[in-house]
Symmetry: C2
Subunit: 285 residues, 2 copies
């Protein structure tokens, strides 16, 4: 029986608890800052134990998952570091890994073993009521050790996410951040910018929008505060993607006058898009 | 019994035939250029009559719908004009209306009554095998008369699409073209450009893409030739949307350094996106 501590009662924290219970072999303890959230966890029977106190949740844990916003992680890590078992494994679910590893690795250098994770699952829905035991089924989880990471801890973190249904890849934190900027963070900003660009041109146009516009802008419905934090935390890589996009757009606009090269361009884009590995539709990055 | 002639056996032509048959009150005749397509229509029993000859399809028709690519419409219109009943109503399903009205209205000035339509339904799937009787259920249809249009014909065209399940709006052709550039044509170009921008930065990133990237790029899987023609036909308005987008992107990238204004921006975009009128998910623009 692995003693699993989950800190943060959002969609991801709740889904980890539900998935772990469904898989079996875990004792799950879930921490929430607010007493009201603790009562909700208890009434929904999402975890074996819930508390708004950190010590009873983390002190005997073998494996601790930080499921709080990136900006809150360093303070929470400093708070729990003195309480945890010396060999406890600590991971997180943040969408940006460079800044998290930089802040957390030193905190857990003396006590605990930290390895970052990014399970690429989620949805525009947030909060524990959206939690689902199958959220990680078939999702990619990127595990992001750096040179200082304990190799045994890396393997345990991999094995944890595999048990929850993820397929695993290891990437250095900086490489992770560039990749998710390209396929998740910048596309989010792009979708929001498209909405606002149409609004600035002619807000009446929204009345005529169909499923194409709905899909291309869906991710703009994500949680604004969470995404602003992600975008800010990964701003260097997102800026680079935005600049690449602006340059590409300028180039492509010139093809509007020439139908044959435009067909060629759209054929190439369609080919790449059709070849995307398409995970199940109820998870999201 | 309305004698309905549908020219062009694609997704839209086939779906109009199926929807008309389901609604009743129509005799449906479907023209396809290729004998092979005619045999397919016959074996799928999509229309009451099918032929690769125009005259037997259009000569006794009350209502004629052109469901061929925009670029082919003027030649087809010139071919059928001498064959049709003097009071026959002619409409089309092209996604761009300014250039179609300019070309077709003079052809049908002496014979027939032309009014453009744009039923905003479709899918990345193309061809008659994707045709569905419910394709137009709840879809918006934009009818685009100009100053020269016969008012009785406009009302008949509206009534036709309403019978097939559409909700109707009238717009002048130029206004139509600006609106669809904003919510359909430019977003298509944007989705394709995003795919190619990521490919240019780091094609390996596609391996990590999830449902967010899949949705934001879905429309890039549309038919390249058809879309290149649409983009070219509506290039002025699409270029205007692209320029507005580039300007907006430049402005938004500066918010990456400032989390609070970025949150505000994302909140506004989310609000607008959440308020979109969302038609059923199996139709598309």
């Amino acid at each position: 029986m692995m003693r699993l501590a989950i800190l943060g009662p959002g969609l991801l924290g709740g889904s980890i608890a539900l998935a772990a219970r469904q898989r079996g072999g875990f004792h799950t303890a879930l921490w929430a800052r607010r007493a009201e959230a603790v009562r909700e966890i208890q009434s929904l029977e999402i975890a074996d134990r819930a508390s708004d106190q950190l010590r009873p949740i983390v002190s005997d844990a073998d494996f601790i998952v930080l499921c709080v916003p990136i900006g809150v992680m360093p303070a929470l890590a400093r708070e729990i570091a003195p309480m945890i078992q010396p060999a406890a494994i600590v991971t997180d679910v943040g969408s940006v890994k460079g800044c998290v590893a930089e802040a957390l690795a030193p905190i857990f250098r003396e006590r605990g073993r930290f390895v970052g994770s990014h399970p690429m699952a989620g949805s525009e829905q947030t909060g524990i009521r959206a939690a689902r035991a199958d959220l990680f089924d078939g999702a990619v989880c990127l595990v992001t050790p750096d040179a200082s990471s304990d190799r045994a801890a890396v393997l345990e973190v991999r094995s944890f996410w595999e048990k929850l249904g993820c397929s695993l890849t290891e990437l250095p934190p900086a490489e992770h951040d560039e990749i998710v900027a390209q396929i998740s963070h910048f596309p989010h900003l792009l979708a929001a910018t498209l909405v606002e660009s149409v609004a600035a041109e002619n807000a009446q146009a929204f009345d005529y929008s169909g499923p194409g516009f709905r899909d291309v802008t869906r991710i703009a419905s994500g949680h604004p505060g969470m995404w602003a934090e992600i975008l800010h935390s990964n701003r260097q890589a997102v800026r680079k993607s935005a600049e690449a996009m602006i340059e590409k757009l300028r180039e492509i606009v010139t093809l509007l006058d020439r139908e044959a090269p435009m067909t060629e361009f759209l054929t190439q884009a369609k080919g790449r898009r059709d070849r995307l590995r398409l995970p199940k539709s109820n998870t999201d990055v």
